[in-house]
């Protein structure tokens, strides 16, 4: 593959030599800490690595080269929307006016950021068809928790306290049931119908006076639009429950479907998916939440408010007693939101609609190209992603989806999401996004077709993949049985050190 850097590197601690790396900070007077009581002081200084700057830089640059990333190649990780991260946005977030602003700075010192946040709320509300938006949640999962806590508060305010169930399709992200548990609800899992949509009969049977909320991802994690969504939402509301939309797959439907208009009561946006903020090796994201009229009173605090004179301010603590409160400190992951704002302003309405059109077109094209070589369990037009399966290949050759994923690495590609959703046998969820060229899409399709042929001709090569990555497959069992979660000098001596 294209990103093979040098092989393994010693860790930071192994690079340490006492006496190196000083001189960044002048030394304070020797009596600097004398006024601190002895029992509050640290006896032994922490054994942190001592490394000079050139070695620190080499350490991290070399480590970075062991990573696959959107900036190095195609990353069709389904459900994660690994689109290009515009460089202008990185520049903008680092402008001193944004980056150096203290979150408790008085409102009058923060008018630029407050205006940006307020305008972003308006734009997201428009995109989601929602009444209002809170930018506070730090990630999609925290947005889910925010939404479900608001629904809980709504039912409680109406004296409707017996509603303890949250209905979740079996194809959902794991965060949905985990969120229901965190909010003190019971998860009821709804099976999928053979066409990949929600099983309407099972859904209606589960709905009732105990149902607090339904969490639906639309398009679903199978990449399919829920055609019966209108009927499902009507049934939810007839039962007195509220509907939550997991917005993880919003990249498919920008300008085509506004969840709030269709009847969803609350949704979250994953700005690190739809709105191109970088995934950061696992984060940060931001998970703004949009709500319909009924849930506006419960939005987290603080909201960003615009005064009649055109200035902006943050809501004060306790100003809105119906709020569910805070989900985190300060106003939100503002630095991430600056990037999302820049992305939305760069595209406008026409550009965002084109984003979805191209993302959906690319996914359908790839699906078409894999036809015949891989199983396509739900063979109808998909949205921004689709599920392929190696079920038949496995029956014929013993080669599993995991093996195919690892072999893709040898072809220079990041594998798709595998074994998710859980309901597809040997599934791989492929999401190309709108920023990949036709040449890249074709090369990826060719690689998968080649691997499917190789499964018959040379299955051993696939089982031993990857061969061209910095390391081969890992011993995950030992990692879990004998966890080594931090460096200790003794361990470092025992392990073979490559340099």
């Amino acid at each position: 593959m294209s990103v093979v850097g040098p092989r393994l590197r010693p860790n930071l601690f192994e690079r340490s030599h006492p006496g190196r790396g000083n001189g960044k900070i002048p030394h304070p007077p020797s009596d600097a800490l004398d006024r601190l009581p002895a029992d509050a002081r640290r006896e032994q200084p922490p054994a942190l690595p001592e490394i000079n700057e050139p070695e620190v830089v080499r350490h991290y640059v070399n480590l970075s080269q062991l990573n696959y990333a959107v900036d190095t190649g195609f990353y069709p990780l389904g459900s994660c929307t690994m689109k290009f991260n515009p460089k202008l946005n990185e520049w903008a977030a680092r402008l001193p006016g944004f980056a150096q602003l203290h979150p408790l700075a008085p409102d009058e010192a923060a008018q630029g950021t407050l205006q940006l946040l307020w305008e972003l709320e308006q734009a997201l509300a428009e995109i989601g068809g929602m009444r209002a938006v809170s930018l506070q949640p730090a990630a999609g999962a925290q947005g889910e928790l925010t939404g479900i806590l608001m629904i809980r508060a709504y039912h409680r305010d109406r004296g409707d306290t017996q509603r303890m169930d949250v209905l979740v399709p079996d194809s959902s992200h794991g965060t949905n049931p985990a969120t229901a548990t965190m909010a003190g609800f019971r998860t009821v899992t709804i099976p999928s119908a053979p066409d990949g949509g929600v099983d309407v009969d099972a859904f209606e049977r589960a709905l009732g006076p105990r149902t607090a909320a339904v969490m639906i991802t639309n398009p679903s994690t199978l990449g399919l639009f829920e055609k019966r969504i209108g009927d499902l939402l009507a049934a939810v509301h007839d039962a007195g429950a509220l509907a939550y939309m997991d917005g993880a797959n919003l990249n498919a439907i920008l300008g085509r479907f506004k969840p709030g208009e269709a009847g969803f009561d609350v949704m979250h946006f994953n700005v690190h998916k739809t709105f191109s903020t970088p995934h950061g090796g696992g984060g940060p994201g931001a998970g703004p939440v949009g709500v319909g009229e009924r849930l506006v009173p419960y939005l987290p605090e603080p909201r960003v408010l615009r005064e009649d004179d055109g200035t902006f301010r943050l809501e004060r603590a306790g100003e809105r007693p119906t709020s569910i409160g805070r989900l985190r400190s300060f106003v939100g992951n503002t630095g991430v939101l600056v990037r999302a704002y820049a992305y939305i302003r760069a595209h406008g309405a026409s550009g965002l609609r084109e984003v979805s059109d191209d993302a959906v077109l690319a996914a359908n094209y790839l699906k078409q190209r894999l036809h015949g070589a891989y199983d396509i369990p739900y063979d109808r037009p998909c949205k921004h992603e689709f599920v392929a399966s190696a079920s038949t290949i496995r029956k014929r050759t013993g080669i599993r989806t995991l093996d195919i994923a690892k072999r893709l690495i040898d072809h220079g590609f990041h594998p798709p999401t595998i074994y998710f959703p859980l309901i597809v046998d040997e599934g791989m969820l492929i999401e190309p996004t709108e920023t990949e060229t036709l040449e890249t899409l074709d090369a990826f399709a060719e690689a998968l077709l080649e691997i499917a042929r190789e499964a018959d001709t040379d299955p051993q090569a696939i089982r031993e993949a990857p061969r061209s990555a910095p390391v081969r497959r890992l011993d995950e069992a030992t990692a879990a049985r004998q966890p080594n979660l931090r460096w200790k000098p003794l361990t470092g001596v025992q392990m073979p050190c490559p340099d």
């Binding site: 601690f13 000083n22 480590l63 001193p96 630029g112 400190s329």
Partner: protein
């Protein structure tokens, strides 16, 4: 579209391969009645225009003030090497290392982060990042409930008010939170009332899962952490310390005073304030509590050829495996900020870290003297590191007037702790290694003038809102 590659010809080829004539056909499954109304958004901005627009917005913020504002977010020197490393696309455009063979950079850096925070805290198991100090503190409190199978947590009134508010939201009426009041006596005022803690711990039929206290506390004061931990443990509760990582260069680490969990805000480790985030939630614990720890963990292992390598591990705690039985719903975390903190620590080194912490103490001492001389003495007597409250009559108004003179005079405590009468005239101020002697002198001079214009007699009673 700004970043898309497709020409009309590309699109035509794809449509042709699929066998349709328009991309609209791909949306036929959206029921007609539910199709979106037209998007009403401002028109697209070409990059040049957008760049000017963003710079203009950033310019409307005032960030050139002489700032004495901390209150949980602290400015520190960040060597330019740090941000240049972070700007490598291999770091920030990758995602969760699901494929370890092509993610060893991220995985090793997380393992190193876990090791660095373990050194600082003395606790061996470190979660590879939560959203921020508030969410990490809430998760710590939830851990104490899961481990003890009890449902009541005691939180010091001097924990950051946003953390307490977040913890209440996470508990959401399912679990109980009681606040431990501040001590009233002069010597220990502003720190935890240990007698009240003892009373709260011994209430019949209300067993306590965990005690949460901050070091330094929100008012900048040093708490008797060992004593708090002993009381908690004697009652069968766990002890969770809310820490500030830079201070751990010079203050006793949580493991030394018996904390079972350390939670805190990692922002001071070289992460810019950026109006609230992205920051870094630190969460560390003992080996005994590893199964209760939410969030990602990376472990060292070997590959098929016996080469040292790293992989996500103990995944059975996480939501994508365990769904409704998971330890938390956390998925996307703050990995890039964990990397930022590690690079900063590696660049500045242990001596640099100690000097940063010590300079904060030095400058804060100078600030204390300068403010006392102009009539704004400390509000409390307990020791502090680099942040403390001073008594300023009409703190809100004075704070506002000083802003007009280019000075961000910390935080009027009444804004965040309105129910604490003892803090009504309090201004919380801090210093770091970036604070200069000139800034301190300018603050003192301006405050002196403002105080001269505020005769005591004219003070309205209960000016606090």
């Amino acid at each position: 579209m700004a970043y898309g590659p497709h020409t009309a010809d590309d699109r035509a080829r794809m449509l042709d391969a699929i066998g349709i004539d328009s991309a609209d056909r791909l949306f036929d499954d959206i029921p007609e009645a539910l199709r979106a109304s037209p998007l009403r958004l401002p028109p697209p901005e070409p990059e040049l225009v957008l760049a000017q627009h963003l710079a203009q917005l950033a310019g409307r913020n005032q960030t050139d003030l002489a700032s004495f504002l901390g209150a949980g977010v602290y400015r520190h020197w960040s060597p330019p090497a740090v941000d240049q490393i972070l700007l490598r696309g291999e770091w920030y455009t990758a995602y969760t290392p699901y494929q370890p063979e092509i993610s060893q950079g991220t995985l090793q850096s997380i393992y190193e982060y876990q090791s660095l925070i373990a050194e600082l805290t003395g606790l061996h198991v470190v979660s590879a990042s939560h959203y921020d100090g508030a969410a990490a503190t809430a998760e710590a409190a939830l851990m104490t409930c899961r481990h003890t199978r009890r449902s009541r947590v005691l939180v010091s009134a001097a924990v950051h008010p946003h953390y307490l508010a977040t913890l209440r939201t996470y508990f959401a009426g399912r679990l109980e939170v009681d606040v431990i009041p501040l001590a009233g006596d002069a010597e220990m005022a502003g720190t935890m009332d240990l007698e009240a803690l003892e009373r709260l711990l011994s209430e019949p039929d209300r067993p306590v899962a965990g005690v949460v206290a901050a070091q330094p506390n929100f008012l900048g004061l040093l708490e008797p952490m060992a004593g708090i931990g002993e009381l908690a443990h004697a009652a069968g509760a766990l002890f969770a310390a809310v820490i500030e990582p830079v201070s751990l260069a010079v203050l006793a680490p949580p493991a030394a005073y018996g904390a079972d969990i350390a939670a805190g805000e990692g922002q001071p480790l070289g992460i810019p304030p950026q109006y609230g985030g992205p920051y870094l939630g630190i969460l560390a614990t003992t080996e005994a509590l590893v199964r209760q720890l939410p969030g990602r963990l990376v472990g060292q292992t070997t590959d098929l050829d016996g080469r040292r390598a790293y992989v996500m591990t103990l995944r059975a705690r996480e939501q994508d495996i365990r769904r409704d039985k998971a330890a938390s719903n956390i998925c996307t975390n703050q990995a890039l900020l964990a990397l930022a903190a590690s690079v900063w620590l590696a660049t500045i080194g242990p001596h640099g870290l100690r000097d940063v912490a010590a300079w904060g103490a030095v400058r804060a001492g100078e600030l204390e003297t300068a403010l006392a001389e102009v009539g704004a003495p400390r509000l409390h007597a307990a020791p502090y590191l680099n942040e403390f409250a001073v008594r300023v009559p009409e703190a809100r108004r004075v704070h506002r007037r000083l802003l007009g003179r280019g000075i961000l005079a910390g935080l009027p405590l009444v804004e965040v702790l309105p129910d604490e009468p003892s803090l009504r005239d309090g201004l919380l101020v801090c210093a770091t290694e970036l604070t200069t002697a000139d800034e301190i002198a300018a603050f003192a001079a301006a405050l002196s003038e403002e105080l001269a214009e505020t005769p005591r007699a004219e003070l309205p009673v209960g000016a606090a809102r």
